[in-house]
């Protein structure tokens, strides 16, 4: 059996007395498309932070690409993090840089400091950046200032940054919550196609359940820090989703 991309064994994350995740175990294999669903505060963002190595579990074991991030040196952790790209709800781009620099920021884990600084003056790897932008459908925005773009376009820039980073897995933390419904469909389709074409693993947290059904093959339902179900999308019934989001005993 090949090594999973992500593996959690009995993981608990506590912030003070509050348990954001408790005793979560799961495996995600290479090439899977997984949707994380559940109400706000269920632990979706915490789970994604574990998966990109920016958060250490309070208890339990996390393995990313077969490695335990808590036992790595800073340098080795960075090397591991290069293999995992993240797309955020609020994009987390630098608004007053031009698009090409935000896209080229995907190279930073590989570039020397000199290369990084020189590229801010005379951009390096321009054709690579242009290709990534073409992949996400905004080839003409290469030299535009990032904050002149619409929300949907900025999310495409963030995805292009991840493409340039060329990771094994892409994590997306509510990537469509800041864009309108039509743009949402486009972004989700883009993510799915890119992952298919470049053979990447996708883990995406979503509030819009219809995209979890239409764009992912597996759904993990989280509620109050616990995995409620972990099933192929086809086997998740509307009743299960409704139970996941029901108000009663969420705010306990």
């Amino acid at each position: 059996m090949p090594e999973p991309v992500f593996e959690l064994k009995g993981v608990t994350v506590r912030y003070g007395a509050f348990a954001a995740l408790s005793k979560v175990s799961l495996r995600i294999e290479a090439g899977e498309r997984v949707a994380l669903i559940g109400p706000s505060g269920a632990g979706k963002s915490t789970l994604l932070s574990l998966l990109n190595g920016s958060l250490a579990p309070t208890e339990g074991e996390v393995r990313l690409l077969g490695q335990d991030p808590t036992r790595l040196s800073t340098r080795a952790l960075r090397r591991l993090q290069r293999q995992i790209g993240t797309v955020y709800q609020q994009f987390h781009l630098v608004p007053n840089l031009s698009v090409i620099h935000n896209v080229n920021a995907g190279h930073l884990g590989r570039w020397s400091l000199l290369q990084a600084v020189v590229s801010l003056i005379v951009p390096l790897e321009r054709s690579r950046a242009a290709r990534a932008l073409a992949e996400v459908g905004i080839a003409d925005k290469l030299y535009a200032r990032t904050d002149t773009l619409s929300g949907g376009q900025q999310q495409r820039v963030a995805i292009a940054r991840v493409l340039v980073q060329d990771p094994v897995a892409i994590l997306a933390d509510e990537p469509i919550s800041s864009v309108d419904p039509e743009r949402s469909r486009e972004i989700m389709t883009l993510l799915r196609e890119l992952c298919d074409r470049f053979d990447k693993t996708l883990v995406v947290s979503l509030h819009a359940i219809e995209y979890a059904y239409s764009h992912c093959e597996r759904m993990i339902g989280l509620r109050a820090g616990q995995v409620v179900f972990d099933l192929p999308a086809a086997q998740v019934s509307p009743q299960m989703v409704e139970a996941l989001y029901r108000i009663r005993d969420v705010d306990v």
Binding site: R78, L97, S98, A105, A116, Y143
Partner: protein, 564 residues
Amino acid sequence: MSVPSAAQRALPLPEAFSPWRSLLRGARLVALLTLLAVAWAATQTGVFRGDLINAGGWALVQQFFAAALRPELSPAFLRLTLESTLVTFAYAVCGLALSLVIGLAGGVLSSEVWWLVHQRPFVARPGSPWLIARGALALPRAIHEVLWGLFLVRILGLDPLVAILALGIPFGAITAKVFSEILDETPRDALRALLNSGAPPGHALLYGLLPRALPNLLSYTFYRLECAIRSATVLGVIGAGGLGYQVLLSLQSLRYGEMWTLIAALVLLSGITDWLSARVRQVLGAPARLEVNLAPGCEAQAAQLTRATPSSRGLLALLGLAVLVVPLALVYLQPDFGRLVSPRTQALLGQMLAEMFPPDLSGDQIARLLQLSLQTLAMSIVAMAIAGLFGLALAHPAARRERGPRWPYWLTRGGLLVLRAVPAPVWALLFLFVMFPGPLPGALALAVHNLGILGRLIAEAVENVDQRPTRALQHAGAPPLHAFFYSTLPMTIPQSLAYIFYRWEICARETVIVGFVGAGGLGRLLTEQLSSFDYPGLSATLIALFGLTFVVDMLSTVARRPLR
């Protein structure tokens, strides 16, 4: 929109590439002109001349620094230091109180929103009365506190009243300008809703606008307290008493041990005020000391992100403190308000004004003023180039961060505090130990003092920047310094440059005060004219100074525009 499978197609790169375009869009011309201006100013002030250093002065410098190890700590001198500190503090408090009265009245009258709510319907009309009010405030603002002091002392005689007025009048005009801007930038939706439901204009302002503007107004007031302490010290240097005066006396009588004691007191007073002001802003949820150059609409966004409602208990405590401190300061200083209306004052004022007109605008005089204006301009540019460069470099270690060692923060912040606590004329005198008199020591003095202010302003801009893009890069495996160049630096550069240009406006006014200690420029000419009672010449110089500050303000505004 469909996703093109464009990997196979050859891609033409869009448009031509131009470096830095993204960072300084539309500002390349400004950048080029700035560089040229700095080069010109450096030549003008004699940076490239050989005979700058007066080697004979090094012995004095050694003595000065050696004295740091044995400051004067006799009980009598400590007592004097304490009294001087209290005097400086009392001047600052009284001056600030006066400036608040002027600032509130002037600020309301020169705000667009005040005039708009009194019109019906709630729309702008040509012939804006607030612009007239703003124009009227430009004159008192253009004249530095020290100049006000020198004028008022001729009319009112030596009295604490002079220092209070000299501080309160220009500060009031500046405060009025900023207050009016704050009022106008505050979101108007609530105000509009109240007006539309039939509330009288005054009530609507009180309920719909003022509460929202209050954290910013208070935050700015406490920033002004920091400025007032510095200005009160400088006023001391020209004879009003207090710490600045004592520093000057000790320096001139070569008692360096005393100077170090006084400098320690200055740093302590400044440090406590700055800390208090920062705490107040924290309580108010308004993190920025001074927000310059916000694009329209940004204020509203920033407000939603960072502002908390001030706690009413904290507000009451503040108000109580103010009510207590201002009368105490007045009792301590004993200003003679009677002098304001005495016949002697009126006679002197009338006489002075009569002698000032007409100004001496002969051909010779104009040529001389032009030459000195250029020299003054060059001084301010060199000062800001140095302060800006070092400020940008020091601001990053001086920014408080969550991780990493704390000593760079304390070291740079402490250094910057000392630089700004020592007034510019004192720095100028120190530079004159080892340099020949001329514009350059003056420029250096202004540079060092302004670096202390600018470094901290930029550091706070760095602290307040959105951390998430930086974290996103680090979580994707970018080393910290790489992430800094791709997120923190580009995100903070526009605000930092805006601060530098804004500070340049103030620096241009401050050239006068280093002029008084012989550092050249229009300030030196003013001193000569004042001491020889050459009033027609004086008014001509004032016109030149006013023109200069107007030009600098305009250039700064134009240069800041593309940075938004």
